[in-house]
């Protein structure tokens, strides 16, 4: 107890136990076989296939439903699914998500309907990858990918902006802003009635 760094109140009686210096009990024959059983596990493991992966030289695929980096999805014509409702931010237990909504206009449309997410940030220093945001998302805009290599060397680099999170454009998808497919409403989009390119 001379060491000033030793926490005195949290000793849990360990010092007293050490001072008592009692011999190890149960040294009978039954105990010997129990110990042998333990060593057997260790021994047999030496012949099993090793799980260690030589990361980063070798990379193995994750489990299919691994919670990795988020992605903001698009409809088939490229419009964003995110409506800026902030329900993900509301659900987030770590306060990792920041969303600011904005009105779509006829001239500048990013998503079907009235509202889109103008600012969308996820702070991966805070994110605990629990997936509650995915459950909260009413339009399936937010899902998780299997990407897990998110470490970086500054704080700013691990705050992902909307353009970092948006799904890349696939063939047939057009970069928003652009109008909804002719004759279609936001409800058709939600129902999945808008397929492929702009002509629906």
């Amino acid at each position: 107890m001379d060491n000033p760094l030793t926490p005195r109140s949290n000793d849990l009686g360990l010092t007293a136990a050490a001072k008592a210096n009692k011999p190890i009990e149960n040294q009978d024959a039954k105990s010997f076989f129990a110990q042998l059983q333990g060593f057997w596990v260790t021994f047999i493991t030496m012949f099993k296939k090793v799980n260690t992966v030589q990361y980063p030289e070798v990379k193995e695929p994750t489990a299919e439903r691994f919670h990795g980096r988020h992605q903001l999805n698009r409809y088939d014509d490229g419009l964003e699914k995110c409506i800026g409702c902030e329900l993900c931010a509301w659900a987030c237990p770590a306060d990792a998500i920041l969303v600011e909504g904005e009105s779509n206009t006829e001239e500048e449309r990013y998503s079907p309907g009235e509202r889109y997410g103008k600012v969308y940030q996820i702070n991966y220093l805070r994110c605990v990858f629990c997936g509650l945001c995915i459950e909260a998302c009413p339009t399936r805009a937010l899902t998780m990918t299997n990407e897990y290599e998110l470490a970086d060397d500054t704080r700013a680099k691990v705050i992902f902006e909307k353009e970092d999170l948006l799904a890349p454009l696939r063939a047939g998808q057009l970069q928003p802003p652009h109008p909804m497919a002719p004759g279609k409403t936001h409800i058709d989009y939600y129902r999945g009635d808008v397929k492929g390119d702009l002509n629906g």
């Binding site: 409506i83 800026g84 409702c85 931010a89 600011e100 909504g101 009235e114 509202r115 339009t139």
Partner: protein
């Protein structure tokens, strides 16, 4: 007024009635609604249309309960928001009656049948009574499989209010508010059945000064504010109780901040002042501090004539050097908080050694100075007096334009008991028409005033020589209650703080030696200046003729005073304490940035003289209140005023207390009869609530509902000029002219009225005065 309030406010005993609700007895005044009586027991009955300040409507049917009286039960559940309590009444709410519970669940299901699933994109989401009560009263799963009725969304019913008809539950709160509280029945329920919807009249947009309240009381997201649309969710916002800085009504407010930015302001709840309402200016005009370029760092005018950013010590030293030992005056402006005004007052007396300080950044007179320093601080008239008045006289005061909550109070009594309202305005304005005001020709011989009458005097009354004196004489003669209602929030507090040449803080007259000793002792200085100080116009005149060398200016727009004010400043040393760049900072030698209301704490005195304190909404703001900066400046000058914080200032003000000696006597002035000469007309003007005021900068949606500027003349005059309604006339003075469309009102043929500071009608800038004689011709 709710029956509970009636009980508090009347002396007559109110009959009490005991009812049983869910097995608990409660005793309430006769006339109380069942839903209120249940609230008293802590039993919450779900509701949408019910609002304690609106008349019962029974529109939404959500509050159904089982009621029996004298052992006889109603055959069906009844709406508890429309039925007053009665003796031997037994009420069973959803908590004890399966019938009531089922009825409520049924109504909720009906309400949700056509309600769109907009919650993720709806501004009300997260603070929505429908959402909450659907959780408490509704079914977990919808049984409805049909197609929901849809409407085009959203429809702007004015530039600041959007209507989403699909979301409406037809509770009629908005239409009842507009009709019963604001007196602006511009919205109504159209059609019937499933197609019933809130609508506006074809040619009349919802341009009420109080339209924002409908957004606040809408129990669903049917009415939303354009400015707040999609800006935030309730959980993003930090709400701070605050006070309104726009006028002297003294509204309690709630300011909602997200990441250092004000996103919206809501009416606070203060039953003695604004009840639960406020005006659209208070609600939506808060972008002024970001609309123009904000002064972020101190600035010094260099040898090149340009302003350059400087460090605080540098700027303070430069300002101190320019003020120390010089003859300097102080212009406070009418928007300073009590603490800031006190800082200016102490700074003028201690650091500058002068009484040249005035808060009036508007036309003023010596008669007014005398009135403010003798009578104004002793006035105790309050909203309660309006509630009980037998007559209200408006002198130089347009309540709807200049103090909207005072208007609501008067309107409430006009609606309730046909209160008589008299006004000295040249014509019946829209606000006056709603009050049923009768016009006065001569102030001095109003008959029928009693001790229960209220005379509300506006700041504009000082513009007519002798009018204030007549009002004071009238009040003295009849015993009527007098009140002085300035337009700006800081004016009454500025008088109390001594930001006026004739008074020291607490209403102590400068002319009284013992008052000076009193204050000098409290401030630990040897003596205070005793020579009479200059008023705003005298300070400006003295600056232009070099009788003063320097001036310290708070938030003042020179065009509020006179069109010469800015040029009168040009040759003196100007220290400007400002939020954003302005006409004053353009000519100032030193610009010191100060905090806006949301960034500082402080208090205003409303027209009743009661303090409306507010705390800073943005906790980590780097901007400081004026008083802190004046204190640094005084320190640098070697004459410290020792007011390091707003809190310390407030403590010093309360320690100093009010003057208990004699007030100076009011020097009345003889009234001057103004008469039009030849073809000239008497111009009168006042400011509209929504106009070009600096504090409304940057809010285009609000400006969209401002009333269009037009000149009012009599029909005989219009005929003489050969103009019809809507045609333009040109109004000119020796200084300049302006052109406005004509509107015809019942008024004297020799009078013309124009708005004072609206688009196309800036009277001081265009004509050079606010009231006087003008030449009017057809344009």
């Amino acid at each position: 007024m709710t029956p509970e309030q009636a009980l508090l406010e009347t002396e007559a005993p109110v009959e009490m009635i005991t009812v049983v609700i869910d097995g608990f007895e409660v005793t309430v005044p006769k006339g109380t609604l069942v839903i209120r009586a249940a609230e008293k027991l802590g039993i919450q009955i779900p509701r949408f249309c019910d609002h304690p300040l609106l008349e019962p409507e029974g529109a939404c049917r959500q509050c159904l309960v089982d009621i029996e009286i004298n052992g006889r039960a109603f055959p069906k559940p009844q709406a508890s928001c429309t039925i007053p309590v009665e003796n031997n009444m037994i009420v069973k709410t959803q908590l004890t009656s399966p019938v009531a519970e089922k009825a409520q669940a049924g109504i909720m299901e009906f309400l949700l049948i056509n309600h769109p699933l907009d919650c993720p994109v709806c501004d009300k989401g997260g603070e929505c009574p429908l959402q909450n009560q659907a959780m408490s009263t509704g079914r977990p799963e919808s049984r409805y499989e049909g197609v929901k009725r849809t409407f085009e969304k959203p429809v702007p019913i004015s530039s600041q209010v959007l209507l989403d008809r699909e979301r409406c539950v037809l509770c009629a709160r908005c239409t009842r508010f507009s009709e019963q509280i604001a007196g602006d029945p511009f919205i109504t329920l159209n059609d019937r059945g499933a197609l019933q919807q809130v609508g506006i009249y074809e040619n009349d947009p919802f341009e009420s000064y109080y339209s924002g309240n409908t957004v606040q009381i809408c129990p669903v997201g049917a009415l939303t504010g354009t400015s707040y649309r999609f800006r935030a969710r309730p959980f993003d916002l930090v709400s701070i109780d605050s006070a309104c800085e726009h006028c002297a009504s003294g509204c309690a407010m709630r300011t909602d901040i997200r990441r250092g930015k004000t996103l919206r302001r809501l009416a606070g709840d203060d039953s003695s002042v604004n009840e639960e309402w406020n005006c659209d200016k208070g609600r939506w005009a808060f972008k002024y501090l970001t609309s123009r370029e904000r002064v972020t760092n101190p600035m010094i005018r260099g040898a090149d004539g340009e302003l350059h950013e400087a460090s605080w010590p540098e700027a303070i030293a430069f300002a101190a050097a320019g003020l120390k030992g010089k003859r300097a005056g102080v212009l406070v402006g009418g928007r300073a908080t009590v603490e800031d005004a006190y800082g200016y007052s102490k700074f003028a007396r201690v650091a500058l050694g002068t009484n040249d300080i005035d808060f009036r950044a508007r036309p003023h007179s010596d008669e007014e100075t005398s009135f403010l320093s003798s009578i104004a601080l002793g006035l105790t008239t309050s909203y309660k007096n309006i509630d009980k008045a037998d007559q209200v006289v408006l002198l130089g005061f347009e309540p709807e334009e200049e103090s909207p909550i005072v208007f609501l109070r008067i309107y409430k009594q006009v609606r309730k008991r046909a209160l008589t309202v008299l006004s000295d305005a040249p014509f019946v304005s829209r606000g006056s028409a709603k009050l049923g005001a009768k016009l006065l020709t001569d102030i001095s011989n109003i008959s029928g005033l009693t001790a229960k009458s209220v005379i509300l005097v506006g700041e504009r009354l000082s513009e007519k020589t002798g009018a204030l004196s007549s009002a004071v004489a009238l009040a003295e003669k009849t015993g009527a209650k007098l009140a002085w209602i300035p337009r700006r929030a800081g004016e009454r507090g500025a008088i109390a703080s001594g930001a006026i040449p004739t008074l020291l803080p607490g209403g102590r007259p400068v002319s009284d030696a013992s008052a000076r000793v009193d204050v000098a002792a409290a401030w630990s200085v040897d003596s205070l200046p005793s020579n009479p100080g200059r008023t705003t116009s005298e300070i400006l005149l003295a600056l232009s003729v070099k009788n003063l060398d320097a001036v310290v200016i708070g938030g003042v727009d020179p065009l509020d005073i006179s069109n010469a004010a800015l040029s009168q400043l040009l040759n003196s040393f100007v220290v400007s304490l400002e939020i954003t760049h302005s006409a004053i900072t353009a000519v100032a030698d030193v610009v010191l940035p100060v905090a806006a209301v949301i960034e500082k704490s402080g208090s205003f005195h409303d027209w009743q003289g009661s303090a409306r304190a507010f705390d800073k909404a943005i906790a980590d703001s780097l901007s400081r209140s004026d008083v802190r900066i004046l204190s640094m400046l005084a320190d640098e000058m070697g004459t410290p005023i020792n007011l390091p914080t707003v809190a310390a200032t407030a403590r010093e003000i309360s320690a100093l207390g009010k003057w208990d000696g004699n007030a100076v006597k009011f020097e009345s002035a003889a009234s001057v009869k103004d008469s039009a000469v030849g073809d000239k007309l008497n111009l009168t003007s006042w400011r509209l609530l929504l106009d070009l005021g600096t504090l409304q900068d940057g809010e285009a949606n609000l400006a969209g509902t401002a009333r269009k500027a037009s000149a009012h003349i009599s029909s005989a005059r219009a005929e003489k000029l050969g103009v019809k309604v809507g045609e333009s006339i040109s109004i000119s003075s020796d200084f300049g002219s302006l052109k406005l469309p004509v509107e015809i009102s019942e008024m004297s043929d020799n009078d013309i009225w124009v708005p004072r500071n609206s688009i196309g009608s800036q009277v001081i800038a265009n004509l050079g005065f606010v009231s006087g004689q003008v030449t009017v011709v057809k344009a």
